[in-house]
Point group: C2
């Protein structure tokens, strides 16, 4: 039975209560990845309401001040809710945003117990019963607004706390609120802003809140400075308002936000919510998600559908819209920019993670949006001089290493995505490959042909990743006929070889004199500085030559030796010292919980052992993903862990994300239809000898066997039929 | 001989070298007040180039990081120059701004010795020989730009350091650079910005620098991260550029700034300097000053002319233009605002100081500009909810006490200055008198009728000053027919009486139970918190009832007792504990170095002893002002100390600055003509029995004796002739 048919029936039962209206949204479980349970790991996802790629993520905060281990603000293991705030990151290892907290109360409480049994979440909707308050809280979202509906117990006081002091942990990133304002600007309106430092070095967030009832009483405070009913405006850095309301109907609070101004927050809110009911906004949010998720239609076991669509959902909760409805946004230089008509600016580019699979996925399902992401990065370049490393709230926080906007931009140009000025893109890529900046000393790179560890720590990881980015530049130069640059960057792309120590059989650190740095321990982990490897060890970085796997095979000693090395990688369980915090989801030395070796299972294809790829990918999909709150093997990292699953479950994966080539793995579903934006379909089917068959006997595109177990982007976008015969 | 005639002759000699072209600018000595010498005190003025009320103050910085005691960045006692930065405050006790430092060098130096003998300054022009470098540096300014001309020794290297790290002391006000950029955007152009916290909680400053020669070599650095010739852009928080130039002609560097964007900095620079030579810009600056200073024409001793015109100049180096040529500026809510055509936004309102005499002076010589200042404050109110306390770089830093934008706004409305929306002004004043904010707990004020010290520290000073502001509100309410408010605010205006302790014969602190707080020592000083008096003692605050001197006389026990109290005030030299840092310029307990008792000498008029006023005012003018670098008796406080002199030297002073009434003192000059903007003149003449006569035998307006020794604003603006007969 096709899921369409199952759903058609299910919907009859569900639509009356307005829940899970969509054919695809029905499978999304926003609680997946929201907390570590049963010895699992934290995806750091959140269950709150958001629309695809929206600016607002409206969600309960279960921590007073979230930090590294509950970065999204919500942790499934918690049992108190401190309110509902409007912005957050999904799956990151560090916390930021967490702006404009609302908490409804009947008295003076600032938090309430809750139970997961009283909690519901679906795309664009979240509800919970606040147990201590007996208040039923519902949340929905539009691109620039969060909408709350609070049902208070009959006859109770009806208060809402607006808390501008609440944020991610102020002990992290020197986070500090510089200034803020709360102001009553109408009978039913509170407006204001806060300016805060943090992981994003400086953020301004303006808001307007429209309540469905007049404010009957208003207390304002700035820390210990409290004005009870005596003021309509307060400025300061620790602001709270307590608004009290009459009435009996559920109280709705519509909250529009903007990075630019209160006026823009108002315009955003009006454009998206004026005259629209809470229920209608929920329906719109669901419809928006339905439209996005329907890009891929699958048939398969219910549980796998839930994993798949939740993963697809998680790839689409960011990048986040950053510009207002009038096209204004705060540029990387902190000045207000005005976009052209129809243009939008996006942020939240966790590029070290997402260039691997999330961005390639966007080029298939939303090439138009993938181009908007690239154009957003190019605007950042215009203001900043080079492309972003980790683009947070419109700014570069330089998190991680490499310059992996380059593969994203290069891939977009190489794939010919519409609406990108290739010359401009090339200028940005060139500048980002030649302008030295933190962790990217290109002068040293060109002088030495590798990063000497004493001149640039994380030298091995950076050298490997930089070589890859350079290969992308060379490809782009070739495509655009910039012959003068092709040789230079092809040479740089081969710099990785200068760190291959054949004696050790690993990529090893060298000093500026060219000496190998000893002692060397391939099992030992580095973090984010002070060691040649970044959030990983030499084993995990061994495979990081996605642009020259053939060359890596040669260095290793041929295909057999390469396979043997892979075998060791996936089996050796020895450890040396402590693992890095980001390392989890182990299979031997392979760590699915972090990105550096995410493509490694697919390299068996090049070792002539595609069955090993299939076995491992199947193992990863079935043992390192599940539908619990600890459904990911590590941080989802802005959807990258999810994107790995989406690709792998479809049966292929972009080992070199800018090559336009995908390695064949093993499909989870019997049928998967990518509904290409051109109107064509790319259909993947599987016939299984047994229900649990996953090994590929034969794979054929439109009947022609794919003997090398590789598929090109062009073959996908042309539409066609990929069939797997599974034994 | 009229100064016109003297000058006509002098100019013949001077104009050939282009110096001191103006009839009035000739008397300005920008070194006055720039440093404490000969046991004197620091005015904290600066000698650099600026135009009247301009955004840019281009001046050498003689400290690596100026702070409280050299707040303007220049101290006459220093002997090294660290470069020339573009923004600063004049006469404040705290340092901020100090943005975008340029230093020319032939080698690697970052500072140079200099001698005052090699230094020249006149309005809009400054020059110095950098002794270590043998570089002759000249500076001039436009409203939004600073222009440097560096003459390097023949055959030397020609370098300019651009330093974005240089600022006021980073140990003060948690000052921290959040981010910045330096970028080569053309052969001859460096652009960028910095974002910095400090006394103004958050500032953005964008700049564009156009050099007259192409940049031959560029080093960029961010702290220890140094790129020598390898980069065209750098982002970070400790940025420097070293640009090297060829050529042989003097190097010109035109620096445009903006608070909004690099694009606006460019537009500002182009509008004010495109195609204009350095010398022509100097002439324009001089002409601008000449136009402003010519508002008052005087005849008198050369030395007094220098004191007078330098003081008048110091009243006009701020408030500062804050909006760009296109009318954009950063509002109090940190969003970009767009002004209407012809409108401008101003900042630097050190209101606790300047409402006393500087703002009243503007209402006489520049009523149009006084109205622009008021409208700037009203725009601040629109964004902030109440009028500013101390308006720095568009933000309120809440420095000092009271809400003395209220007298300024009220005075403007009461005097009928053109272009102010009185209803809007009243709304702002009302909101600022009823919305509690730091140091202004109006709820407590109305509940207790005074500030109980345990609920609001600095309670006596705040009560006195708040009562005065309330009187201003009442006057405005009366004028605008807001009868319902008149009684309320007249009542509040009399709250000051609730702190008069007849037992002590002083205004004394009370607690919330109404008990006088003991022990009480009228000689003991408070600073800015933790004591009932603010930067003063009970003696200095005794006189702070400018709106009800009659009432104060009654409290004191009649005119005789009042005169006796004044006599004690000006003679008792006893001390108790340490003086507050701001206290200096003592005559008995009177401290001319700070503002609270600035009007006290004039109160003898109300005690029936105008000759004592004349004697004391003469003493203050002749002993507490001089033409050295320590020419002021304390911080000039954004021109307030200067404004006291300007008024007093003309022969009158606004004891109650919002009353439209001036108390007669004694004129310094034999003739003083206020060239009113209406085209009328108000002429003050003096005939002296002896050249040093200062006691008034008779004073008459248009022949009619002023028996009460008072003059009204209307009498001045009507034009007329005030004649003093001095014995």
């Amino acid at each position: 039975m096709k899921i369409h048919d199952i759903l058609a029936m299910t919907l009859l039962a569900l639509c009356c209560e307005g829940a899970w209206a969509g054919e695809h949204t029905r499978f999304v479980d926003p609680f997946i990845g929201t907390g570590a349970i049963e010895g699992g790991l934290a995806g750091n996802n959140y269950p709150g309401a958001t629309v695809p790629f929206g600016m607002v993520q409206l969600c309960p905060d279960t921590h007073e001040a979230p930090d590294w281990y509950n970065a999204s603000g919500y942790d499934y293991n918690d049992n108190r809710i401190y309110g509902f705030s409007h912005t957050r990151l999904s799956g990151t290892g560090a916390s930021d945003l967490i702006d404009i907290l609302l908490f409804p109360t009947t008295g003076d409480a600032t938090s309430s117990a809750f139970s997961h049994e009283d909690e519901k979440a679906r795309p664009g909707y979240y509800s919970v019963m606040l147990a201590d308050e007996d208040i039923f809280a519902e949340l929905t979202a539009t691109p620039h607004a969060g909408v709350h509906r609070y049902t208070y117990p009959e006859g109770s006081s009806r208060k809402v706390i607006v808390d501008l002091e609440h944020s991610a942990n102020k002990e992290s990133w020197n986070r500090k609120i510089i200034n803020g304002q709360i102001r009553r600007t109408g009978d039913r309106t509170l407006e204001g802003y806060r300016i805060i430092t943090g992981w994003a070095k400086l953020r301004k967030i303006y808001f307007t809140i429209e309540f469905s009832e007049p404010i009957a009483h208003l207390d304002l405070s700035d820390g210990d400075r409290v004005y009870r009913g005596t003021s309509s405006v307060i400025n300061g850095s620790a602001l709270k308002a307590v608004a009290e309301f009459g009435g009996t109907k559920p109280l709705e609070c519509k909250v529009g936000i903007s990075t630019v101004s209160i006026a823009n927050a108002r315009e955003n809110l009006a454009a998206e919510t004026a005259g629209v009911s809470f229920d209608a906004l929920c329906d719109t949010a669901d419809a928006m998600w339905e439209k996005e998720l329907s890009a891929i239609d699958i048939e398969g076991p219910e549980e796998s559908c839930r994993t798949f669509y939740t993963a697809l959902y998680h790839t689409m909760v960011q990048p986040n819209l950053f510009s207002d409805v009038n096209g204004e946004y705060i540029g990387a230089d902190y000045s207000v920019k005005a976009l052209g008509k129809g243009e939008r600016q996006f942020t939240t580019f966790s590029l070290w993670d997402t260039y691997r699979a999330a961005h390639p996925l966007y080029t298939i399902v939303r090439p138009d949006l993938a181009a908007e992401f690239v154009n957003s990065m190019l605007r950042h370049y215009d203001d900043y001089g080079y492309l972003p490393i980790w683009h947070l709230w419109g700014q570069d926080n330089y998190c991680m290493i490499g310059n992996h906007a380059i593969p994203v931009v290069a891939d977009a140009v190489l794939k010919g995505l519409p609406g990108i000025d290739a010359a401009h893109a090339y200028e940005a890529v060139m500048s980002s490959s030649t302008t030295p900046h933190p962790n990217s000393p290109f002068d040293i790179w060109e002088k030495y042909g590798y990063m000497p560890e004493e001149l640039q720590t994380q030298s091995v990881s950076i050298s490997l990743e930089m070589a890859y980015d350079d290969w992308c530049v060379a490809q782009m130069a070739e495509k655009l006929g910039r012959d003068e640059d092709v040789a230079r960057f092809n040479k740089r792309a081969m710099h990785y070889r200068n760190l291959y120590d054949s004696e050790m059989g690993f990529f090893c650190p060298r000093d500026a004199l060219g000496q190998w740095i000893r002692p060397f321990d391939p099992l030992k982990y580095g973090a984010n500085g002070g060691y040649p490897f970044t959030e990983g060890n030499a084993w995990q970085y061994y495979w990081y030559v996605p642009h020259d796997v053939e060359g890596l095979i040669d260095l290793t000693g041929g295909a057999k030796a390469f396979k043997s090395k892979l075998d060791d990688f996936f089996t050796i369980t020895d450890a040396s010292g402590e693992k890095n915090d980001n390392i989890s989801g182990m299979i031997g030395q392979y760590a699915h919980g972090n990105e550096p070796s995410h493509h490694a299972a697919y390299l068996y294809v090049d070792a002539g052992a595609p069955a090993e790829t299939q076995r491992l990918v199947h193992t990863i999909m079935t043992t390192l993903y599940n539908n619990t709150s600890s459904g990911y093997a590590g941080n989802d990292d802005c959807g990258e862990m999810s994107a790995w699953y989406v690709f792998s479950a479809m049966g292929f994966y972009p080992v070199n994300p800018a090559s336009g080539e995908y390695y064949i793995g093993t499909p989870t579903f019997d049928k998967c239809t990518i509904q290409l934006p051109t109107g064509k379909d790319f259909v993947i089917t599987a016939s299984r000898k047994n229900p649990d068959s996953y090994l590929v006997k034969k794979v054929a595109l439109d009947g022609a066997p794919l003997k090398d177990y590789k598929l090109t982007h062009g073959q996908i976008t042309a539409g066609g039929h990929l069939h797997f015969d599974l034994k």
